[in-house]
Symmetry: D2
Subunit: 299 residues, 4 copies
């Protein structure tokens, strides 16, 4: 591996292909991602960890708008912070600040990123205005599609997905400030989102996928929900990329190897798959920058 000034992200990653350890894993991730974007794959994307507060929002919404994502499975928190970014901004803070002082100042901390309490007030107002009202049962994806259509920011993930017809699944929606607001909203208005209806919708997408590829950022519920939906179909994922800081040994699903998912039938025995261990705020932009550059080079 040799470094030259002015190297583009793709040149850097191509060099990593000849290396060991994480560098090689990252290079393989870009190879798989390139295949996923060029081939005829239904493209799943799962999002956990505070990736939106960390600044990854515009990368994700651009992937949606560019047709590079067919299904998004997310934590609730990433959607909450996506909405907050539509009218305000997260603040670069200090991971070592006194949390008691921050509380006094009305600032909530996410590692080294701050959110002002006023943003949560405005978030509440926005949601109480924007949440859909209906006595008819609604699926979670329909609920999020309607909510997204009311976000006044083209760079919003929710809005982009709504505009582009990309379904967003959020199996733990109640576990977020959207959930808290929806519960408050329901005290006085009608809202009927079924806890299980999304399951079938995602299973149907899995059934309908000729071939399927998945990018997993950070594990958690989104990872499991996407993988388990393949379980009840005769299919499985053909391409899989996982960017995570978790490790397999403690046995949790977030750190489980993609190979383990082969034993369950979620991922095909012959699938191309790779896990890149490390901080996704570095590895994800680098992977996307490299893959997009390759697509341009081919074009």
């Amino acid at each position: 591996m040799e470094i030259e000034p002015w190297m583009d992200a793709d040149e850097l990653v191509r060099m990593m292909e000849t290396c060991g350890f994480g560098a090689r894993r990252l290079a393989e991730a870009v190879n798989i991602y390139e295949e996923m974007l060029l081939g005829d794959y239904t493209k799943f994307f799962t999002l956990a960890g505070a990736m939106v507060p960390a600044g990854m929002r515009n990368i994700i919404s651009a992937l949606i708008r560019d047709g590079k994502m067919d299904v998004l499975v997310s934590t609730g928190a990433n959607l909450v912070h996506d909405i907050i970014e539509s009218f305000s901004h997260h603040i670069l803070g200090d991971s070592e600040a006194s949390d008691a002082n921050l509380r006094d100042e009305g600032v909530s901390r996410i590692y080294d990123v701050y959110v002002d309490d006023d943003d949560f007030v405005r978030f509440e107002e926005l949601l109480q205005e924007s949440l859909p009202q209906s006595s008819e049962p609604m699926t979670g994806t329909e609920f999020l599609r309607l909510l997204g259509s009311r976000i006044d920011d083209k760079k919003s993930i929710l809005r982009s997905a709504s505009d582009c017809g990309v379904p967003i699944f959020c199996p733990a929606l109640s576990d977020s400030m959207i959930g808290l607001q929806a519960w408050l909203y329901k005290q006085t208005r009608k809202l009927n989102v079924d806890a299980f209806s999304d399951v079938g919708e995602l299973v149907d997408i899995c059934y309908g996928s000729e071939r399927a590829g998945i990018v997993i950022i950070g594990g958690g519920v989104p990872k499991n929900f996407a993988l388990q939906s393949m379980l009840v179909t005769p299919k499985s994922f053909d391409l899989a990329i996982q960017l995570t800081t978790d490790r397999p040994e403690p046995g949790g699903l977030s750190g489980a190897t993609l190979s383990e998912a082969v034993s369950w039938g979620k991922i095909a025995p012959g699938a191309r798959k790779v896990t890149v261990y490390g901080d996704a705020t570095i590895n994800f932009p680098l992977m996307v920058a490299s893959a997009l550059t390759r697509l341009q080079k081919r074009a």
Copy 2:
């Protein structure tokens, strides 16, 4: 620190109190847990990671039956495997086995623990018989209480909670085989579980808690759901213990420090709190064994 043969778990942990690093954190966890069990605290417990497949099930159900847990927030997977344990057993396997071979043999792997596919068949039959039928809206906790009452095993977490009136919250219930089965069940029968109703129920418990303590195993949705419920109340947790393998630097909630939760108002600025970094399959039994021994020594 000096080791003597025949030391009980509490003697071992008391020695750790004079040490640094993880040992001291574990000793502090036991001190806090002792205070939680002896004092007038509403005792929250959150469970993520594959703790039931790993064998922690009976410890948890015993804590429920002994009145040492007032609220349980769990991932769906732990409840699924709790049900499987009620009629079969997880198998000690090999974390390095060929996953393609396991697939051929009909075995699903969770790190070094196996589940036989036949158990999932039986799980399906059991759930299709046992799931509650109702056209009336039901909360998630009510759904799980009814399901638990139909589990024929006193050592089951679901059954124990049902017997003892301990509510189980599972915000991502659809993200589990219970969710898959509930969706299948709904194709032909009536089932109406609302996605948001649990939110209010947990908020009410938070409001009603004079003082509140929490044990967090493994982060994830359960951690966040329990902590966020305090957000909309004027209260906060007074005691908090976190056993996790995650670290703060990648910014995700699972690894976030308990101090960070102070900035949000979820945990009180003056709360006693500690995180023990490490494998909860070791640290959790050691903590419980030490705390129970202390209670006996006091008795």
Copy 3:
């Protein structure tokens, strides 16, 4: 797994044998350690990480005095802090303290353990009095044996090893305050320690071992030095236990699996071996307490 009050450490670990993940690894570590202590093995022990500041000193010196360790390979820092403990004590501190303030107060921090600068002054005086003087070439183990004989504390690791004829290898001795003091000492007095002579001495021990077992705490130079010495012999380790927080994926030796050492010929293909991932300040005392209890139960 079920927890009873008054369980001794061994009962707790035996329960873990039926569990998954880290618990099972720890139980296997105790099984291997029991075999190592009962069988006719040359018992190697490698020590990295700040285990002495963390309070593990007396466990180690007791293992030496009880004949449960035949060779110790250590970092320099653990020996430095062993000497400090012979005349003073490490202080339980705060891992979040202001390091600039600590500097002003003359306190050096090792995570949540403090050392007073006065102790380093006294350490300097002690070493300048105690270091052996000789113009003849000396091996590192001989240097440490002489130094150990001058430590006035029976619980000292150095003293215990000196008393019991257990050689201590410290391949990076210059990388420690003993190294700094030895260099100062040499400005005015004669000291001639050869950089390579220890290599042969450890190789000889490896050659002479009928069967060999090793306990590796924390990786680093001590792990590698012990393992590489087998390389030039036809032998290899038959039993191996590794307690570490490092993971294999970044490729460094500290986190390398014991299996990797099989490819090098350092560990036998059929060796019993296990790595327990986690904080050794918890897992090491638990392992020792359980193993010593088993020996008593057999006796």
Copy 4:
């Protein structure tokens, strides 16, 4: 953060400056590295982990030849593999291969990189020819300078350092195959390398540094040896970058925060410093590529 095709490494990193978590840490690392390269700093570099087998060798030798490194502190293993690369190549392998099979085939594994046993035979021949012979006491840096001058490969780290007068410190030289070979060599020839003489040489460099900056890859002995040398001077490091996968909580030096080094006086209270947690095989090339591009942009 927004990704464009053709972004160069520096554009990517500049975007990361507006992000949270690891991305921001990496961006800060590049800022500090830029200052180090442009300003009047003595530039220390410490190297641990299997960075040469992983393919980072040419980056490091180029930094030496370009005058961007004044002092290198390394593990022995990285120097061994530097020599092997001078006549052969590491092979990209499989981290999941059977280690028993690899042993049979004469292949040693370093995670997903292989070394052929024949290379070690050739390494032995080379060293037995190239090691310096002398009955006069020699320092470790002198020994490595002479060895480097005999390596017939301009891209070698040892050779580049020898050519450019950059001293290489290797405090645990005996803990490597160079150490094994030196010991063999000494059986029949004269070689006299003092264990402590390097200490003074590095202390002198610290004393002589107007201002000092350090890049720490992977912790271990090299990190400690460089930092401790400042201890006995009135100076301290003014700039510090650490790329590591280790974490602070287990208390070991490799994962210790740079702030902790402030309490010891090794790093200045007002120093610019940052730790990037993650795989250095990714983060190090990205940091170097970004910094070199910046220097070009300024030029």
